[in-house]
Symmetry: C2
DNA sequence: CTGAAAGCGCTTACAG
DNA sequence: CTGAAAGCGCTTACAG
């Protein structure tokens, strides 16, 4: 990192201003000088000092991603998608993950200020109040956030549409009494999936009462909820677990109770985690294209950064599609249906 | 970001030099001035401009992580561990993942130069030649790398010890004819696991010939290898798949062939991916503490950055322990054994 | 087309 | 203990 723009200028016998212009592709210069400068830069293996450039251009060429403490596959896919899209645009990626509470998230966010040109924000702690307090002038994209009408863009997964499609599918394959094992209170994904379930039930099985069991997104929670179901002989024709882990717990409980899946009852999940197709019976579930989700969010942020005017009207919320993945656990023929496309 | 050190100086009626000293905790100043300065900074919500600071201190307070295209759980755990350790030290984390080839990795690395104080490098493309070409003066920690005697620190997972412990366990529980389904050619993890298998067989079952089947770390590969085994009636007492995915394929193939696990044959894996305990029979495997691996690597890098002299003698390779996780698929009683500790 | 100069926001010897 | 000044490496009006 010892070679600076001065060295290049000296080698090419021009001013540093000309070196800067040549390297940044300004056109007002003779082809000969430009060539000489570029050659000198190459020969000296010159790399501009990014801090110096940032200091004057006010651009870091870096975007920040503030992420919650996510479980495996989802998190890695998300970063992969973001990273791919960022690299394609020549942007760097500063990440910060696992924030237990709002204070930690705020600290992490503040630490990023000045180091990034924009922010991808995904955190259960990021709500309207949080954002108001931050009052950062930075372009931001909220991912999977419950916040409405924020001053920044929002990109959500279509949890509602995915759950809706699942219920529709179950009804179409002959199951009308469908119970839902819900997610944790206040969890945005859980709330949206519940909304989708309720809406689809009202639409496709209006005569049937809905049946919602409390859950918490853990295997144990799915096991417990199903145990209650079996004990009370409230046997629905299908159990829709709001995520795959709970569906696994549900399957265990049913096996112990001697209830056959899918003959006696259908079981479905949400997420399509890697093991969903490995367990038996293979799990019917809803898949989210997570890498696309990340890439999409980055594209949107990049657009906001580049074009302030365009960004202004981009501030409505967008949804990213989820698709039904039909396997053995629901007893229907396999097929794959998109719920929506962003 | 509009408020600068000048504004604080003006508000506190001192020079910018004094503001800088107060904020950086220099001691040569009266408590009164310091207090006045700190109060002014707080009131104005002053945050030092990191680029300006970097330009002069030559420190970015950021470390870079160059990672391969990893599968889910491993990658996310790794980043989680790195991020946690980095945050504890007030360091930022710049990540770049999924590099298909050596050229992409080189480009990514070069792009990070000047933006980071040190580098965590984990990539199948990072070999001795690659490093020589880079000749970066940056502190680096190679993670899970086959490179020997590099000028930088190396931190590896104890694949050898884990595989060794697995074979030892199988022999101890009465299985002597143990076949290994290997990983892809040239894969460092695979090579080390094979070494561990060979060494343990030589040690604990010296009279028994080793039996290594080609594999590729995919479920399909495990299925194929096991198919050959069954077709040729070369029935060992145990199959040790070099990763969990292949063990899953192996279990499928055995089920199809009507071979019972663990009664007729033991099956074990490596990695302890989340579904390992969910399939049936639950898989005996080797677990690696991935988050610790990441945190450890970061600590080591931070030490190198802070203390150049100490770093010099830290350059030997270190191993991070793997532990045996015994479940149903090997037919032994459950227990958990550490293979080694870093 | 090209250069001299100012300035981005900081830190740090150097004086006093 | 405190300040004036130089300088980190770049970019960009402003002249010519």
């Amino acid at each position: 990192m010892a070679v600076t723009i001065k060295d290049v200028a000296r080698a090419a016998r021009v001013s540093v201003a000309s070196v800067s212009r040549a390297l940044n592709g300004h056109h007002s210069m003779t082809a000969a000088t430009r060539k000489r400068i570029l050659a000198a830069a190459k020969k000296l293996r010159y790399t501009p000092h990014s801090a110096a450039r940032t200091l004057i251009t006010r651009r870091t060429q870096t975007i920040g991603a503030l992420l919650p403490d996510l479980h495996g596959e989802f998190f890695s896919e998300l970063i992969r998608g973001i990273d791919l899209a960022a690299r394609a645009r020549g942007l760097h990626l500063l990440v910060s993950s696992s924030h237990g509470d709002a204070r930690e998230a705020a600290t992490a966010l503040r630490a990023m200020l000045g180091r990034v040109d924009g922010l991808l924000l995904m955190s259960p702690h990021v709500d309207a109040g949080f954002l108001r307090q931050m009052r950062a002038e930075l372009p931001m994209v909220l991912m999977n956030s419950p916040v409405k009408r924020a001053r920044c863009a929002i990109l959500n997964i279509d949890n509602y549409g995915g759950a809706f499609a699942m219920v529709q599918h179950l009804v179409a394959s002959g199951r009308r009494r469908i119970a839902l094992i819900g997610g944790p209170d206040g969890n945005f994904d859980a709330v949206e999936r519940l909304r989708g379930y309720n809406a689809a039930m009202a639409r496709f099985a209006p005569a049937i009462p809905t049946q919602v069991l409390p859950g918490d997104f853990t295997e144990e929670g799915g096991y417990r909820a199903t145990g209650d179901l079996v004990a009370n002989k409230l046997r629905p024709q299908a159990v829709f677990a709001a995520n795959d882990m709970m569906a696994v717990g549900c399957l265990h409980a049913l096996r112990e109770a001697g209830v056959r899946v899918p003959e006696d009852i259908a079981v479905t999940g949400f997420d399509d985690v890697p093991f969903a197709r490995l367990i038996s019976p293979a799990l019917t579930t809803v898949r989210v294209r997570i890498a696309d989700f990340g890439a999409h969010a980055l594209e949107r942020l990049a657009t906001m950064i580049e074009d302030t005017t365009d960004a202004a009207r981009e501030k409505h919320a967008q949804l990213l599609g989820a698709e039904l993945v039909v396997r053995q656990s629901c007893g229907a023929k396999e097929l794959l249906v998109s719920s929506a496309v962003a």
